[in-house]
């Protein structure tokens, strides 16, 4: 992700990384990785993880646990997909080096879904009926989740999504679909309302994509903001096909105190730049979701304008003062530097606010499989019940983003949200919400549904 123009790297290492299957965890290389980590294990001898691994493999089969990884390698989600890929690679390496799950190594079977719901459903079907995967995992874009979840339910394959959509907790999906590794948009948005009201202003204009995702922001934020006494003056929904934005900005009412923006897709940079050009020196307060600038270098031309504005971050991109040891270890394992970029290329910026979900989700899968003594697809229901039984997940290397609270009834996890202020081109943590701030009433009880 070399946004900076000084770097002549059309063939830089990051690029071969993202597209070359041999570097990614395709089936073939996953096997190699597993072989290597098994070798490392044998050499280690001591260590609790290694021991349990060896004992485990003595009675359990050596067959790997097969996890189907639905990944956005092409299409509109490709920039996210590539970091989901890297994070997954890192977490699998970690878990396997600690002895795998129930003594069995994880094997990742990754396939591109083209960020398309139809292809997504086909890929899930492939995981279940062709590759005999134990579980499916990894989807980000919510339309792909919606397209794929019915098939996962029908094929009775647990489907762990990492999408931050409200779809799971809304009750629209099924018992086989869970989101235990990333919080959902409703809780994120609702937790922002008090902060904006107290610190930035009472009159807000929202700018969001005319997508279901944007509508969730519109509806949940408006509701929460009015509940704390604020007012949403105008809601500007931008059609997703749009590439220039200046013509919409005059719709922002003059008395606006805070602009709330959340945009996705390749045109986000244009959006922010044009917003800056529109307001010039006299801008209102601005609060944005980092989705607007995920995987974008904050040093890109035109973004200076954002200095002093606030962002929601799922997980702080820049290593903060007093960074936890867990974040440090996680960062290192995935290969991200203290600025949130790839270690090998400072301009290759990660999707740090989302990708931790892959890391945490696979740890939940591991914990669930261990708790249910999972031995094969026949135990899938036991696995889901074991995950449903989970509640508190402490801040740890397994959950480096922070402590979490899982709601088994809604299949959704809740956690801390971070608000950062852009200061001298970096995001500096300004506020951390409590988990309580993010809770809302259950909308569904999946545990009462049959399998």
């Amino acid at each position: 992700m070399s946004n900076h123009k000084k770097i002549p790297n059309l063939n830089a290492p990051d690029i071969s990384h993202s597209n070359d299957n041999t570097v990614e965890i395709s089936r073939r290389t996953a096997l190699k990785t597993i072989g290597a980590s098994a070798g490392a294990l044998a050499g280690m001898g001591a260590g609790a993880g290694a021991l349990s691994g060896l004992i485990g493999s003595a009675h359990a089969s050596d067959e790997p646990i097969r996890i189907g990884f639905q990944v956005h390698r092409t299409g509109i989600g490709a920039a996210y997909g590539r970091w989901y890929d890297r994070t997954t690679e890192a977490v699998v390496k970690k878990i396997n080096s600690e002895g795998g799950i129930n003594g069995r190594p994880i094997e990742i079977i990754a396939e591109d879904d083209g960020t398309d719901p139809k292809r997504g459903a086909e890929v899930v079907e492939k995981f279940a009926t062709k590759h005999n995967c134990d579980v499916a995992f990894g989807t980000l874009f919510s339309h792909v989740v919606f397209g794929s979840a019915p098939r996962a339910g029908e094929l009775a394959i647990p489907y762990f999504v990492v999408s931050e959509g409200h779809h799971v907790a809304s009750g629209k999906l099924n018992r086989y679909t869970l989101q235990p590794g990333i919080t959902d948009v409703k809780s994120q948005v609702e937790a922002m309302a008090p902060f904006i009201n107290e610190n930035l202003g009472k009159k807000v204009t929202m700018i969001f994509p005319d997508f279901a995702f944007g509508h969730d922001h519109r509806d949940y934020f408006t509701q929460a903001f009015e509940a704390v006494g604020g007012q949403v003056l105008e809601k500007i929904a931008i059609p997703p096909t749009e590439t220039s934005f200046s013509k919409y900005f005059p719709k922002i009412p003059r008395e606006t105190e805070v602009i709330y923006h959340v945009m996705v897709g390749p045109a986000v940079l244009t959006f922010v730049k044009e917003l800056g050009e529109f307001f010039g020196p006299s801008r209102p307060e601005i609060f944005g979701f980092i989705d607007s600038l995920e995987a974008v270098d904050l040093a890109s031309p035109g973004l200076e304008f954002l200095d002093g504005t606030y962002f929601w971050e799922g997980n702080p991109r820049y290593a903060q003062e007093g960074q936890s040891e867990f974040d440090k270890a996680y960062r290192e394992a995935v290969g991200v530097d203290e600025n949130g970029a790839s270690i090998s290329d400072a301009k290759d910026v990660s999707t740090y606010a989302h990708m931790f979900g892959c890391w945490e989700t696979l740890h939940v899968v591991k914990a669930g499989m261990e708790a249910s003594d999972y031995s094969g697809p026949a135990d899938r229901q036991k696995l889901i019940e074991a995950v449903e039984a989970m509640t508190e997940m402490p801040h740890s290397l397994e959950h480096p983003q922070g402590a979490k609270l899982f709601n088994g009834k809604t299949h959704q996890v809740f956690g801390h949200q971070y608000i950062s202020k852009m200061t001298d081109g970096k995001l500096v943590l300004a506020h951390t919400t409590s988990i309580e701030d993010t809770l809302y009433e259950d909308e569904v009880d999946y545990t009462s549904m049959s399998f």
């Binding site: 092409t74 719901p117 459903a121 079907e125 492939k126 009926t129 062709k130 339309h143 919606f146 029908e154």
Partner: protein
């Protein structure tokens, strides 16, 4: 053997073989085949307009989506039974194709392509605009309980497969019959030479409209079937790539042949499915194959076969 019997035998055989496939193929492939049959129905619908009438539309996603949303929304908001919803889906695609046909047929050639493209694009944006009901790009799930058709659970592999096959077979029979009917012969005459067809005394405009409606309704049936059998409706199915896909299927399989659309759909589906297992660059492979096909098999795959079997319908 005369041609009509030959063609009936061929189509009968195709349907029987497809039915047998379910029991022969492993689960993964029979699941794919169910999908392919629905998409092939879409392509067959497209072929009525493109292959037989000679009108190239770039807006068939709109017809597919009108069937899909006609069925999906009536289940979601009216709690319609699958049968009623299917009928509503079909009716909505008849209405949409009649209106679009009436307007767009004032144009021909490239202008027809653009007008259909524009209407489809407006349709796609309309789905987003009414996001409150459609949930826009994200779409909505049609739950398993709502997909039980006279006690048959359409989410199960066997009923799903045979429901898809039944629809496909109906489409195939309809088209096989149409081709030999007077209407079909008129359509082909229009394709070959519109001016001449008009001079002979055919009502060209009426027949073209009829072709749009038949084509649009078959496409709508495919859209409704997709939502019903796979439990999901979303705006991506109304987007422009779903207007391009049936054109590709038909051109690859062989335009103006009855089984060409099926062949093209199978080919394209497995081209992507197999190549994506080996590389992320499966679109590169798909692109190269498309180019090679146009270079070496200009009449599509069925066109190649036809060279050997001249009686192929």
């Amino acid at each position: 053997m005369n041609q009509a019997i030959r063609s009936s035998l061929l189509h009968g055989a195709v349907i029987v073989i497809l039915a047998a496939m379910f029991f022969v193929l492993p689960e993964y492939h029979s699941g794919n085949l169910a999908r392919i049959l629905v998409l092939a129905l879409f392509a067959m619908g497209y072929n009525v307009l493109f292959g037989y009438t000679g009108l190239l539309s770039l807006g068939h996603a709109l017809f597919f989506a009108s069937g899909m949303y006609g069925l999906g929304l009536s289940i979601l908001f009216l709690q319609a039974s699958p049968l009623l919803a299917l009928v509503i889906g079909l009716i909505s695609s008849v209405i949409v194709s009649a209106v679009i046909g009436f307007l767009a047929l004032r144009t021909t050639g490239v202008a027809f392509m653009i007008v259909t493209l524009m209407f489809a694009q407006a349709g796609y944006l309309t789905v987003l605009f009414f996001g409150k009901y459609t949930r826009g790009d994200e779409g909505f799930v049609i739950q398993r309980a709502q997909r039980i058709f006279f006690g048959i659970d359409l989410s199960q592999p066997l009923p799903r497969y045979f429901a898809a096959l039944a629809l496909f077979a109906m489409g195939l029979c309809l088209i096989a019959w149409l081709v030999h009917s007077r209407v079909g012969k008129t359509l082909i005459a229009i394709r070959e030479n519109e001016e001449r067809a008009r001079m002979i005394g055919y009502d060209v405009q009426f027949h073209k409209l009829l072709a749009v409606i038949i084509s649009g309704t078959l496409s709508g049936a495919a859209g409704a079937a997709y939502a019903l059998l796979f439990g999901y409706a979303g705006a991506s199915f109304a987007a422009v790539q779903y207007s391009i896909l049936p054109l590709l299927y038909v051109l690859l399989g062989g335009a103006g042949t009855t089984i060409g659309p099926l062949i093209g759909t199978v080919f394209m589906f497995y081209l992507i499915d197999i190549s994506s297992e080996y590389t992320n660059a499966y679109l590169l492979i798909a692109g190269l194959v498309l180019i090679l096909l146009t270079l070496f098999a200009p009449q599509g795959i069925a066109g190649l076969l036809r060279k050997k079997l001249s009686w192929l319908p």
